[in-house]
């Protein structure tokens, strides 16, 4: 029964989805929009041309850099903002103004500053993911249970020791949640950035397939790959939540 719900149910949904998709394309008589089978052939074609792997690697490369930098900057920044009130007072209003600006709005600026190469999308991904990471790290420290802090103070722990042994581990579960959300956003943004700022990657594949001959089978093939890789990335980052040191922060499941 458990097996039924966890494996068969999503499988059934997928099969029904594909059947409906196929039927709708056939019924509409469209010769541009592909059936699922044509999309599979499109993926195969991309693979055989060597483009699929190349574009996936290009997109992942940009995400790794932009997202990696965001983690390296965002986590310490968030911890500092959460702990030191003056830092929070000085920087938080600025962060709250910058945060709601869509990374898409930064694309023209990024092209102006960095031109058409890898730096522009990396910058955009960094920008998109650094805010959720900073804000969640900051909130994690601010919402930390006072009793942990008091216990640590009682044992005479202070300064960098306090950060390393108490504040960071107490904040870690919520920081990881922020990182997970940020990775999802980073993956959304890389595709958008690649449509405009570069000439490789999965985003570029989609826009290029449309512009160079209305190859909608390849457009949808690109979309499917984006979805699948996004799923894999989320599954990977979720492994962080399974460490014994942070499990306590995610309730009983």
């Amino acid at each position: 029964m458990k097996r039924f719900s966890s494996v068969l149910l999503p499988l059934a949904t997928a099969v029904i989805f594909l059947i409906v998709w196929h039927s709708l394309v056939r019924l509409s008589g469209s010769d541009l929009f592909p059936t699922p089978m044509e999309v599979v052939k499109g993926i195969q074609e991309l693979f055989e041309k060597g483009l699929l792997l190349k574009y996936i690697v290009a997109s992942l490369f940009r995400v790794s850099w932009g997202f990696g930098l965001a983690v390296v900057v965002g986590v310490p920044l968030g911890l500092i903002l959460g702990w030191f009130k003056p830092a929070f007072q000085a920087l938080n209003p600025m962060i709250q103004i910058l945060r709601p600006i869509s990374p898409i709005a930064w694309i023209p600026v990024a092209i102006l500053w960095f031109g058409i190469d890898d730096t522009a999308p990396i910058f955009l991904i960094f920008l998109a993911s650094v805010f959720p990471i900073t804000v969640s790290s900051m909130a994690a420290v601010q919402n930390m249970q006072l009793v942990y802090l008091r216990a640590a103070q009682n044992f005479g722990i202070k300064g960098p020791q306090l950060f390393r042994r108490v504040i960071l581990p107490a904040a870690l579960p919520q920081i990881i949640t922020g990182i997970r959300i940020a990775l999802g956003i980073a993956w959304l943004v890389v595709v958008a950035a690649e449509m405009i700022a570069v000439n490789s990657g999965l985003g570029y594949l989609i826009i290029d397939a449309r512009n160079a001959g209305k190859r909608y089978d390849l457009v949808v093939a690109g979309m499917v790959m984006i979805g699948l890789i996004g799923l894999v990335l989320d599954l990977l980052i979720r492994q962080l939540e399974k460490f014994d040191e942070v499990k306590w922060g995610y309730g009983q499941r």
Partner: protein
């Protein structure tokens, strides 16, 4: 009581907080006097919200008194001190550390071998052998409180400040924890200042019960409990001490009326 020699010495202690109206001061503690001798087990009881926990936090160094003289071991209290460890009602065990890591938390500056020995010793003393590698989330509430007590003992605290440490536990667990705390206290010769709203608990545990009044709280009376341990909860001495405290708190022993205190 010999004031100069007492380990914990509180004289004329006031604690006020700003009230809702401008300029208004709400007095939580008023002229509190308290002495605790080294090695003594003292319970502070009083109605909920009377400020007994505030008093413990002042003595523990987490709050500052508004007025008065608070000294521990002859020195004014300026913040928490590793020689005197607080045991929190809401449980201050670190959930990201295992049982043994928690118990060794205050021993990081000691050599690894000594740390290991102390941790093993106190895990045994609180009855958690076999749970060394467990995380707090895998333990019951009572076991988590045991970890916290062991953590304080392992760090060689001279004094334990306990703020309703068994308040969140079920009745049977509470009884066991009390018995074990007495056993540990007798073995370790620590000084324990224990805050509770549970009069029975206080009489079961303490050498002396300090009864506080309603807000603004002050010490209404002290009741000495000179009974051998383990205490027989049906003995006339136990019942007399218990009823005496009920009477001080203005309550009929049989739960009938509530009188005003003073």
């Amino acid at each position: 009581m010999d004031n100069d020699k007492s380990l914990i010495h509180v004289r004329d202690c006031w604690k006020s907080f700003p009230g809702k109206k401008a300029g208004e001061q709400v007095h939580v503690l008023e002229r509190v006097n308290l002495d605790v001798q080294a090695g003594e087990f003292v319970c502070v009881v009083g109605p909920s919200g009377c400020g007994k926990s505030t008093l413990l936090n002042i003595i523990g160094g987490f709050f500052k008194e508004s007025q008065g003289d608070v000294k521990v071991a002859g020195e004014p209290v300026n913040g928490p001190d590793p020689r005197r460890i607080f045991v929190f009602q809401e449980n201050g065990v670190f959930p990201w550390l295992t049982v043994e890591e928690n118990i060794g938390f205050g021993l990081m500056s000691r050599p690894a071998k000594e740390r290991e020995e102390r941790v093993t010793h106190y895990i045994g003393m609180v009855g958690l052998t076999g749970f060394e590698k467990s995380y707090p989330r895998e333990l019951s509430g009572g076991m988590r409180q045991r970890v916290e007590i062991a953590r304080a003992l392992a760090a060689n605290a001279e004094v334990l400040y306990m703020d309703e440490p068994f308040g969140a536990l079920d009745f049977i667990t509470r009884l066991k924890m009390r018995a074990d705390l007495i056993r540990i206290w007798q073995a370790e010769k620590k000084t324990i200042l224990f805050v509770t709203h549970d009069i029975e608990e206080a009489v079961q545990l303490a050498d002396r019960v300090v009864v506080m009044s309603k807000r603004p709280a002050t010490v209404a009376e002290e009741v000495r409990v000179d009974l051998p341990r383990p205490r027989d909860l049906d003995s006339p001495g136990y019942l007399a001490a218990r009823d005496r405290i009920f009477a001080i708190m203005g309550m009929d022993v049989h739960g009938a009326g509530m009188g005003e205190l003073k």
